[in-house]
Symmetry: C2
C-alpha cells in the first residue's frame, strides 16, 4: 500500500496531461476540453487526490480558512453557549465551500486577544476573521486593518466604521415586545440588569428599554450593571429584592443571568412569576430546561453566524450574494412572566 500522498503530478501522469492542465480543470480556469476534463477528474478520484492545502495557500496566498477568537474564560464560555451557536452558524456556511474554521479561545488577559489576532495574521493562517461582541472603544477594527486582514463584525460597531457588520433587522423589536408584555401585565416597576458596560449592546439595549418604558410614561425602576456571571446575577437579584420598592419584573441581558436570577429569587422565597417576572435574552435551550420555563427574547444566533460567514466569503469573492435571512429578535413568552402582583 503506497501510503505516500498523491500529488498533482501523479494525477497528471495518470491522465496523460500536464500538471497545469490538472490545475486548470480543478479550478475551472483556462479552457480545457470536456474530454480531457473528464480524464483528469477520473484520474483524480481514482487516486483520491485533493490539492494540498499548504501548497495552495503558499502559491495563491489564500488559506481557505477563517479565524475566530473568543475572549472568555472556560467557565463563562460553558455557562453561555452564545459562541457555540454562532460557530455552528458560521460552520454551516464554511463547510460546503471547504473552508475551515480556526478557533482560538483566550482568557481575559487583555493582551492575549490581540496576540491571537496578530498570530493569525502574521502567520497568514486565515483569509479573514469574524469578530463578536462589539465593544465600546473596540481597537480590533483598527488592528485588523493594519494587519491587512478581512473582518466582519457580528453586532453593531461602536462608532461609524467601515468594517462590515451583520445584525438582525428590527434589532429592537424583541426587547420592545418584552417591555410591552410586562407593561400590559400591569408591571410598573421594571428593572434592567445589563452585561458589562464596555459592550455596545449593553448601552443600546438599555436605551431601548428606557424608550419603550417611556412610551408608557415609565422609567426603569432600577438599572444594574453586572457581568455575565451567575454570581453577578445572584447578587443583582438580591439587591433588587432587598429594596423596599422592589421591582415586579426584571429584564436580564442574557439567559444564564436570568436563570441564575430566577433561582436566586426563589431561594429568597420570592415566587416567580407570582411576585417577580423574569425575562432573559437569547433564547438558549437552557431556558426551556428550567422550571419555570424562561420568557426570553429570542435571537437568531445561528443566523447571525451564517450571515457573518457569508459576508466574509463574499468579500473573498467566494460567493456573490452575501445575503442570508437573520430572523429578527422576538419575544418568546413562557412561564417566568405573569401579571404584576397586587400593590404591595
Amino acid at each position: 500500500m503506497p501510503s505516500r500522498k498523491p500529488t498533482i503530478t501523479d494525477v497528471a501522469a495518470l491522465a496523460g496531461v500536464s500538471v497545469a492542465a490538472v490545475s486548470k480543470v480543478v479550478n475551472g480556469k483556462g479552457s480545457i476540453s470536456a474530454a480531457t476534463r473528464e480524464r483528469v477528474l477520473t484520474a483524480a478520484s481514482k487516486l483520491r487526490w485533493t490539492p494540498s492545502a499548504a501548497a495552495v495557500a503558499l502559491r495563491s496566498a489564500k488559506t481557505r480558512a477563517i479565524g475566530m477568537v473568543a475572549k472568555r474564560s472556560p467557565d463563562l464560555l460553558s455557562a453561555d453557549p452564545h459562541f457555540t451557536l454562532l460557530i455552528s452558524g458560521i460552520e454551516s456556511e464554511l463547510s460546503p465551500l471547504g473552508y475551515g474554521l480556526l478557533l482560538h479561545i483566550v482568557g481575559e488577559e487583555p493582551s492575549a486577544e490581540e496576540a491571537a489576532y496578530r498570530r493569525l495574521a502574521d502567520e497568514r493562517r486565515v483569509d479573514g476573521v469574524v469578530l463578536t461582541e462589539s465593544r465600546i472603544g473596540d481597537t480590533r477594527f483598527e488592528l485588523l486593518r493594519t494587519l491587512g486582514v478581512n473582518a466582519v463584525l457580528i453586532g453593531t460597531p461602536w462608532r461609524d466604521d467601515p468594517v462590515p457588520s451583520v445584525q438582525a433587522t428590527g434589532l429592537d423589536s424583541g426587547l420592545r415586545a418584552a417591555v410591552e408584555h410586562l407593561v400590559a401585565h400591569g408591571h410598573r416597576r421594571v428593572a434592567y440588569v445589563s452585561g458589562p458596560e464596555d459592550r455596545v449592546h449593553t448601552l443600546y439595549r438599555r436605551r431601548v428599554v428606557e424608550d419603550a418604558l417611556a412610551a408608557h410614561d415609565l422609567a426603569p425602576s432600577h438599572s444594574i450593571v453586572s457581568d455575565f456571571t451567575a454570581a453577578g446575577a445572584v447578587d443583582a437579584t438580591a439587591r433588587l429584592l432587598a429594596d423596599r420598592r422592589r421591582p415586579t419584573a426584571v429584564l436580564f441581558a442574557n439567559d444564564s443571568m436570568a436563570v441564575a436570577g430566577m433561582s436566586a429569587a426563589r431561594r429568597l422565597g420570592v415566587d416567580v412569576p407570582g411576585e417577580l417576572s423574569v425575562i432573559g435574552h437569547d433564547d438558549l435551550p437552557l431556558g426551556e430546561l428550567v422550571y419555570p420555563q424562561l420568557t426570553t427574547v429570542r435571537q437568531d444566533l445561528v443566523g447571525l453566524g451564517r450571515a457573518a460567514a457569508r459576508v466574509l466569503l463574499a468579500s473573498l469573492d467566494e460567493i456573490e450574494d452575501a445575503s442570508v435571512e437573520v430572523r429578527p429578535p422576538e419575544l418568546v413568552v413562557r412561564e417566568s412572566t405573569g401579571p404584576a402582583p397586587d400593590r404591595t
Copy 2:
C-alpha cells in the same frame, strides 16, 4: 507603508546573513554564534516577521494545527457545553506552542463526519485530530489509521485498540460515590437514565451503577435509555414518576437531562429533593444556576481536553512529557438530593 508581508529573505538581508542562517536561528537547529543569532532576532522583530504557516507546512509537512470534528446538531451543542469545555482545555495547551485548532461541526447525517475527517486528512490541514464521544463500533480509529492521521481519543475505546486515549483516573469513583450517597440517604429505588446506547460510557456507567448498588444488595429500579435531549429527559421522568413503584432517586447521564428531569418533576408536582432526588453528570455551570442546585458528578472536562492535546503533541514530538493531571470524577453534593421520602 509597504504593506507587503516581510519574508525570510527580507530578514536575512537586514541581518546581513543568508536565509538559511535565519531559518536556523528561528528553529534552533545547526550552530549559529550568539552574535548573529542576536542580529537575526532583532532584524526579525524589527520587521515583525513570522514564518508563513503555509510555507512551513508545505516544506516540512507539518501544519502546526490539530483538528476536531464535533458531531452534533446546533441545538444539542448549545444545550450541553461539553464540547466547549473540552475545546477550552485543548486550546490552552495548543496556544502556547503556536498550534491552531481547526474545528468542524457536522450535523447528525452519518456520512458528514467521515467526510470531514477525510477532508482534513486529504488536504493535509492538520497534524492530528482529537476524537470525542467514544462510540461502540466506532469506525473512526480505523478510518484515521488508513488516512495516516494521528489521533487521540477522549474517553475509553470500545475495544482494545492501539489508538491512544485519555481518561480520568479512578473513572468510576464519582458515580460510585453518587450511589453511596443515595443509599446512605435511604434510597432503595434508584433509576438510571442513560444517554444513547452507542456511547461507550453509557454501558460503562450503567454497569458501575449496577455494581455499586449490588454492593448493597440492590439493583436499579428502572433503567431508561434516552438521548441527550431535554425532551427525552422530560419523557423519561414522566414515565418514571407514573410508575406506582416509582424511584425515589434518579441518576441522569448528563446535567442538561438532569435539569430538564428535575423541572419536569416539579412541574408534575413532585418535590425535589423532598420526593425525588436527582443527580446529574459533568458538573456544568448550569447546575449551579438552577434552583434547587444540582447534585452532580464532576468531570474534569477541561483537564481531559488538556490531556488529549498533550498526548497528541507528544506524538508529534512537540513536547516530551504528555502527562497532565486530570482530576478524578467526584461527587458534588448540592441541593437536588436528600433523604428518601418515607415509605410510600
